[in-house]
């Protein structure tokens, strides 16, 4: 019998194809002029069991391996994490406007990460920053959620977002205060806040374990998020402890956000744009939305990074500027749609 929305192989293949294409584009684009044919041959050469002569100079090969490749991979990782976290927050709060940035998760992670940079002065940051970012992300979301509940009991979709914006502003203010305490680190903090995915292999290995855990947990919860979407009373009558599911998903989504923020700074709107496009194209079940958001978000951010690197070349735009340019109008459109749907 038809009618069940499963993740269809075609849709999965399409998303994977889009991701691969965006990654190739990401490897081809850049300030240095490397022959596209050479890049493709070099990539093939790096594959196991394949040998090809790219004709690239060692300097070019090095640039590809140490700059472009990690940049593309980190962009994909961060984009995937932000998009899947956005989709998960939307499921937990049953709110199509929920997003790591609008909920205060990113600002919370930003504050604690800044604090870690300022107070540690480079000692043991690799260990502390992920934990600090995670604590900040969870704290930010809980604060926004609590405030949203106080401000408007059972309030509409907008109340939570407004609360998130207030929390974000507050946490950002505190962050600014903290960063001014550590004038020595100011340059590093600014570079980090603007958001970029050029952190190199070190950042990828830093984020990878947290990414693996959070994405794994989130993908396992797709079916349960579908059950939650009918409301708490009904979920309870179906034998599900809604609070337990919420907590697990909330923690995993905040971990994903924290991992992304810790290695890339503040990049907004990925978590809202990508899941919505996926829903439109492929269906509303979280079993579809979560995995496809992961892939779509990865492709989206890699492309956004290509734009960031090429639009004003040789100068670079912060990647957050590109995503906001696409995302902000999109947000307004989604807000309009949910208002019309009477949500």
């Amino acid at each position: 019998m038809t009618g069940s929305s499963r993740l269809r192989p075609g849709a999965l293949a399409l998303a994977l194809g889009a991701l691969l294409a965006s990654m190739v584009a990401g490897l081809l684009a850049g300030a240095a002029d490397i022959a596209p044919g050479g890049v493709v041959l070099q990539l093939l050469d790096w594959l196991p069991l394949v040998s090809a002569d790219s004709g690239l100079a060692p300097v070019e090969r090095n640039l590809l391996l140490e700059l472009r490749l990690p940049r593309v991979l980190l962009g994909a990782l961060v984009g995937g994490l932000l998009a899947v976290a956005g989709a998960a927050y939307q499921g937990v709060f049953r709110n199509p406007l929920a997003d790591p940035y609008l909920l205060g998760a990113a600002a919370g992670a930003g504050l604690t990460t800044t604090a870690a940079i300022v107070f540690l002065k480079g000692n043991g940051e690799a260990l502390v920053i992920p934990v600090a970012a995670f604590t900040g992300a969870v704290g930010g979301v809980l604060l926004a959620y609590a405030l949203g509940n106080v401000a408007g009991r059972g309030g509409g979709t907008a109340t939570l977002v407004l609360a998130g914006v207030a929390v974000s502003s507050f946490l950002t203010a505190v962050q600014t205060f903290v960063q001014q305490l550590g004038v020595d680190e100011l340059e590093r903090i600014y570079a980090w806040i603007l958001g970029d995915v050029g952190g190199g292999w070190g950042q990828i290995t830093l984020a990878a374990p947290y990414a693996a855990v959070s994405v794994g947990v989130l993908l396992l919860h797709g079916r349960l998020l579908d059950v939650l979407s009918v409301g708490d009373d009904e979920a309870a009558s179906l034998g599900l402890r809604a609070a337990r599911v919420r907590l697990a998903v909330l923690l995993a989504a905040s971990l994903a956000t924290a991992a992304a923020v810790a290695v890339s700074g503040l990049i907004g709107f990925v978590g809202i744009v990508v899941p919505h496009v996926v829903r439109r194209l492929a269906g509303g079940s979280y079993r579809i939305v979560l995995p496809l958001s992961l892939l779509g978000g990865a492709a989206f951010l890699v492309l956004a990074d290509v734009l960031a690197r090429t639009v004003l070349a040789p100068a670079e735009l912060p990647i957050g500027v590109v995503t906001a340019f696409v995302g902000a109008p999109f947000f307004v459109a989604v807000l309009r749609m949910t208002r019309q749907a009477g949500a």
Binding site: G3, R223, D233, L238, G239, L240
Partner: protein, 267 residues
């Protein structure tokens, strides 16, 4: 032999006692209608029976104390459909009905072939097969009500709690849905508890009735004993005339008070 037995139910919400000392008994395979004025506590009573609301007191289904069961076990015993269920607009009819299998699927597991077959057969029974892949946002009111019913039936619980299953339906669709519930009840031996705000409708379908007023049970028994002019005046503040129809079921007719003149045609 009672399938549902509730004693001393008390629900306090936000410091306000919404239900106090409520009890009821429903025999296996019977249909109990819970009636009462707006805000009397009908929906709260249903939620308390369904176990989705913190309450004190006791609910037994087939002598099993429901509140001591794990949520999943309880969900295999009692299916509940709220008055205005949240219907995610993007979800397909099949997927929504499939949610009824939740109590049979392990926490992080996924549904199996048997779950899909149960869902498909319920959709077929309710003539919803052609709608299986339609999104919920594109259904009419009558179709939605049937889909909600389908989800509850997919749960394969012997007790069905329906909160105002006919809200927002026109007369024809009301009748369709209630006839459907009655057919399923007789075919599967389900025990049904519904809240119904329309007293005439309630009188037509219920085997027994419980009248709830200000959080307490004001009367219970056969429809003819509960739907009396005196009780309805007292608890609804409405003037009605009761006429016993075919099959001995009471028909409730609204009457305008004698002293009310037709409104004057101008000042």
């Amino acid at each position: 032999m009672s399938r549902i037995l509730a004693r001393d139910l008390e629900v306090v919400l936000d410091g306000r006692t919404v239900l106090a000392g409520v009890g009821l008994v429903v025999s296996r395979g019977d249909w109990l209608a819970v009636i009462g004025a707006n805000g009397a506590g009908k929906s709260t009573l249903l939620k308390a029976l369904a176990g989705v609301l913190p309450c004190s007191g006791e609910v037994l289904v087939d002598d099993v104390p429901v509140r001591r069961l794990k949520p999943r076990e309880r969900a295999r015993l009692i299916a509940y459909a709220p008055q205005s269920p949240a219907l995610p607009a993007d979800m397909t009819v099949f997927d929504y009905a499939l949610l009824g299998r939740t109590p049979y699927i392990p926490y992080l597991g996924r549904e199996g072939r048997a779950d899909r077959e149960v869902t498909a057969s319920v959709l077929e029974r309710l003539d919803l097969e052609p709608f299986a892949s339609r999104r919920l946002g594109r259904l009419s009111g009558g179709e939605r009500q049937r889909v909600v019913l389908a989800r509850a039936l997919v749960q394969q619980a012997p007790v069905l709690l329906l909160d105002e299953p006919t809200t927002a339906l026109d007369l024809g669709h009301q009748q369709q849905v209630l006839e459907l519930v009655d057919r399923l009840r007789l075919a599967d031996g389900l025990t049904v508890v519904t809240t119904l705000h329309d007293l005439s409708v309630a009188g037509q379908y219920a085997d027994t009735m419980t009248l709830v007023s200000r959080g307490r049970v004001a009367a219970s028994g056969a429809p003819a004993d509960v739907l009396t002019e005196k009780l309805i005046d007292e608890h609804f503040g409405a003037r009605v005339r009761i006429e016993t129809g075919p099959g001995g079921r009471p028909g409730v007719h609204l009457e305008r008070p004698d002293d009310t003149e037709p409104p004057a045609s101008g000042p």
